[in-house]
């Protein structure tokens, strides 16, 4: 059981960093699109 949790912990470190990157990229992309719409 502990080994299963450890496996999830290892994978989730990577996944979490990818999610943080995606969320930030999405936010920036939306900002750029809304700016472009204004002009």
């Amino acid at each position: 059981m502990n080994e299963i949790l450890y496996s999830i912990l290892i994978g989730s470190c990577i996944t979490l960093s990818g999610l943080i990157l995606t969320l930030n990229l999405n936010k920036e992309q939306e900002k750029i699109i809304s700016k472009q719409k204004k002009f």
Partner: protein, 533 residues
């Protein structure tokens, strides 16, 4: 001449040729310091990983895995790897936006302070000189065993190779040779691993074989390894290294060379993936050796032993030359970063033209490399003391200042200066207390965390009753303005593909580990218990 000597000489000649090719393209200071700020995702990934993985990764970390701590070292690397993804978002991209040549120059621009630039330069020089020294020593010891040359000639050969191409081509040559070396040691290790797995009963049977091997460290494949405190240790060390790769000049500083900010994001993702997957593969090789050679007296030589004994001679030669390349690539990065900091940040002489500045930097680089050669030859500094200063001390000194320089509205020049000095000194004092008075500074009381805490406190207190100057405020606002060139929606879409690759990779890694490690381990333990009873 033996096959190993041929391998060493051929590889050195290739690196020198590549260095000369790149050196011909150096036209100005920007080319020399930051490779003209036009490096691709491929080159930034190559130089980032090659600078990170030195001989220590092939010897120290594999020894740790072999001795029963593979689960800890895998977790440390995984947490560290996420720094390559998160670091660029919150710091790496902003230093590129500042268009500086060194990281201390970034702090100078951000805080409009010469004293901060000088101190950051001194920290860079002290820390990376220690790292450079230990890597060049390791490389020459390996070269000595490969070629049969005596210690002095092996050291001279290592020094000469690194110094010549770095001196002539600067960062343009370093990132190209780093990438070639990276591809070389990645590919030969993958090929060499297949021979080791074949000769040790196959990687698919590794868990069962090790559980049933009475000579393997007891419990080494359980989640906590052979030490009950290893989980906590792995988490804290992982966090330390995650911050280190996010803010250190020999890692985050590579972002100064990137063509644009999208390159920074993408190379961060690729470096993170290589860190996790390649190092995991390397550790599997190390623990497989337990099947054919348990209880090695010098576990740090496990991969070298495998190169001589567990694969064909030609593959072994290539693997050892690859390990040497890992050392040379890190050393060339350290040499260039330190020399640039001495000439640009500490001495900071104003030149009439770029040609004079370029020549001066080359002279500084040469003199510095001579000093390191003398220290290495006469063993003036012990490895134990070197370890105090190498690597993580930079992050302890300016980790907080780096992130706060971008995101804090309150941190002033004085606060940043106090934070850097106190972080640096606290780290040294805490290491001293730990080493000489056996004070148990472990886990979250690790000197790194104590130093970071003191650094933050000093930053907050130092900023009291002081307001930011107009220049500081103006520059911080500028940092947050996305350059027009970077705001192409298509680039963001491509970045997100990379982000999704790493998200999915994490899920796949978990599934594979659960299937091939957690379940296999449980089955093997149950089988062992039922056979006993």
């Amino acid at each position: 001449m033996n096959i190993y000597l041929w391998g060493v000489i051929t590889s050195i000649l290739i690196y020198l040729l590549v260095g000369f090719y790149a050196g011909r393209k150096v036209k100005n200071v920007e080319d020399y310091y930051v490779s003209g700020r036009n490096a691709s995702t491929f080159l930034i990934t190559g130089t980032m990983f090659a600078s990170m993985l030195s001989i220590n990764g092939f010897m120290g970390d594999t020894a740790y895995a072999y001795s029963g701590y593979i689960t800890s070292i895998v977790l440390i690397n995984t947490i560290c790897a996420s720094g390559y993804v998160i670091g660029p978002l919150f710091f790496g991209r902003f230093i590129r936006r500042a268009k500086v040549n060194t990281m201390p120059s970034y702090f100078f621009k951000r805080f409009n302070s010469i004293r901060i630039k000088r101190f950051a330069g001194v920290v860079t020089v002290i820390s990376l000189s220690a790292y450079f020294l230990s890597v060049i020593k390791g490389t020459s010891i390996l070269m000595q065993s490969l070629t049969g040359f005596n210690e002095t000639i092996a050291l001279l050969l290592s020094w000469g190779c690194i110094m010549i191409f770095t001196l002539y081509s600067g960062s343009k040559g370093v990132i190209l040779t780093d990438t070639i070396m990276c591809i070389f040691f990645l590919s030969v290790t993958i090929v060499a691993g297949s021979y080791v797995f074949n000769s040790t009963g196959g990687v698919s049977n590794l868990v069962t074989n090790l559980v049933n091997n009475p000579l393997a460290p007891d419990g080494m494949l359980s989640y906590k390894g052979i030490d009950n405190n290893s989980l906590f240790y792995a988490i804290t060390m992982g966090i330390i290294w995650m911050i280190t790769v996010s803010v250190s000049p020999w890692q985050a500083g590579r972002n100064l060379m990137a063509k644009n900010e999208h390159v920074i994001f993408r190379s961060g993702v690729l470096t993170a993936l290589i860190t996790v997957l390649f190092l995991f593969y390397l550790y599997l090789i190390a623990i497989s050796i337990i099947q054919i050679n348990p209880n090695m007296q010098k576990p740090e030589e496990v991969i070298i032993w495998a190169a001589y004994k567990a694969m064909p001679e030609i593959v072994g030669m290539l693997l050892l030359t690859g390990i040497m390349a890992a050392g040379l690539s890190s050393a060339s990065t350290f040499l260039s970063v330190v020399s640039f900091s001495i000439s640009s940040d500490i001495l900071d002489i104003k030149f009439k033209n770029e040609k004079k500045q370029l020549n001066f930097t080359r002279i500084v680089l040469f003199i510095f490399s001579i000093i390191i050669l003398i220290i290495a030859h006469y063993n003036i500094l012990s490895i134990r003391v070197l370890a105090w200063f190498a690597s993580t001390i930079i992050a302890a000194s300016w980790g907080y200042v780096a992130f706060a320089s971008v995101w804090s509205k309150k941190l002033t020049e004085r606060g940043a200066y106090y934070a850097m000095i106190s972080g640096f000194l606290t780290f040294i004092i805490a290491r001293f207390l730990k080493e000489y008075f056996d004070i148990p500074l472990e886990n979250f009381l690790h000197p790194f965390f104590i130093a970071t805490f003191v650094s933050i406190l000093s930053g907050i207190l130092g900023s009291q009753n002081q307001i930011k100057t107009k220049e500081e405020i103006k520059f911080q606002i500028f940092l947050h303005i996305l350059p027009k060139k970077e705001s192409n929606i298509l680039d963001y879409k491509k970045d997100k593909i990379f982000a999704w690759i790493i998200i999915i990779s994490g899920i796949i890694i978990s599934i594979l580990l659960i299937n091939y490690w957690a379940f296999a381990y449980e089955d093997a333990i149950n089988l062992k218990l039922s056979m006993k009873s």
